[in-house]
Symmetry: C2
Subunit: 237 residues, 2 copies
DNA sequence: ACCTGAACACCGTTCAAGT
DNA sequence: ACCTGAACACCGTTCAAGT
């Protein structure tokens, strides 16, 4: 009874499409990390040979672009009414920042991709890589008193801020969730130049070791954002 | 007359060593980009088979770590006398920032590697990835009036700042110098979703296209650094 | 219309063997 | 001591062929 409807062959196979391929690629990267993602393995996960993917995706590079797009388009922020209370430009930027941050924390293995893939154009600065989002950003700010130039300047400053903070944060998260392959910072298997013994040559690092390892990411993010907003306020004519 | 001294076989081959291999890898990435770097091609460039490299380098991943280390160790900054004029913590951070930036601009293709490789420890935050450098940073600041905690906080803020700004800057540079393979933003061969026509759906981006594409990186970097320093000043007890 | 088998060129890496 | 030939397992990708 091998019917033509997806039956019990271990798992019912979703019909292939660009969307499910990319969705599954994101899941794969989340679970096993980017270096593990292979056309062949992704096919296997989808119950299909690797070559089938090429009907829907233009090769591995295009697939990764798709991953970045999909993850990035999950961010749709309604600028809302400029005159509503708590909805000024500061509130807007704060909400946007929080949303991007939560994206980075949800997909720490994908975020480096968002951060480093070559953007298609200079007006798509990582990690704000969707046209919708950038358009929305610029409109939100110009409607709230920013001149064109000021809005563009703010856009640049804002993206640099997000990139720096979130890339570092997702990297330190990604290390914890890293693929089972690399032991990273395990007590055994130490690299020659970086053992505790060698750390003796750097007394200050050693003294501050605990503080350096401590995680204050949320507080730091918010504090830095606060200062960025103050800085951007100077752009208001 | 095939002598044993490196004679005229096209090019005198430097004797192999870990150092020359890594140096050549850096040059290779600078010229052709990271994805092009292959053990086999690197061997070829050194006049040797790929397997020979494994005597000196522990595989490709280790090679890339070596690349990051070498490039990063080119940064040795003398903190100098805390009491000398123009040598306060602000001057120190300014010099350090400039130095890291010039590194990023000299090696725009290598910088993403510096930015995204998993650091060996939480106290090595990209792009400040050398123990010497971090030690020097912390000493410089604590000698200049920062408490331990303040120095660590400053270290975090400073690295985020550098990472965000320089990764974006090096990416936009790297695109220009990109490998001959990818046409990127060419007039022909446009991706479906991002033609000028489609840009019509984003009127603000379109209106600000020129401003968005304009490059003000140096001024922006300096301005943002200035504000960071002001912000760090608040940490002084 | 959708998937696959076979094939190609190219990887990283190991190891016994050459000099 | 230093390099290499041969081999292995694994890539991405194409295309004619199957259903």
């Amino acid at each position: 009874m091998t019917s033509s409807t997806p039956s019990v062959e271990g798992r019912a196979r979703r019909p292939l499409s660009r969307a499910v391929i990319i969705t599954e690629a994101v899941a794969f990267i989340d679970e096993r990390g980017l270096p593990e993602l292979t056309m062949r393995r992704l096919g296997q996960r989808l119950g299909v040979e690797a070559m089938s993917l090429y009907r829907y995706v233009d090769g591995r590079e295009a697939l990764l672009d798709g991953v970045v797009s999909q993850v990035t388009e999950g961010l749709h922020l309604d600028p809302g009414d400029p005159d509503a209370p708590g909805n000024g430009w500061q509130g807007y930027l704060q909400r946007l920042a929080t949303e991007v941050r939560s994206l980075a924390l949800r997909h720490p293995q994908v975020f480096p991709l968002v951060a480093t893939r070559h953007p298609a154009a200079p007006w798509l600065r990582p990690p704000l890589r969707s046209l919708e989002l950038v358009e929305s950003f610029l409109v939100a700010l110009t409607r709230r008193g920013f001149s064109d130039t000021a809005a563009v300047t703010a856009y640049r400053a804002f993206s640099s801020f997000l990139l720096g903070h979130l890339l570092l944060e997702s990297a330190s998260m990604g290390a914890a969730t890293a693929p089972a392959g690399e032991p990273l910072a395990e007590p055994e298997h130490r690299e020659v130049g970086e053992t505790d013994g060698e750390l003796a040559a750097y007394p200050t690092i050693r003294r501050l070791e605990h503080q350096l390892a401590a995680d204050h990411s949320t507080a730091e993010f918010e504090e830095a954002l606060e200062h960025l907003l103050q800085r951007l306020e100077l752009l208001l004519g």
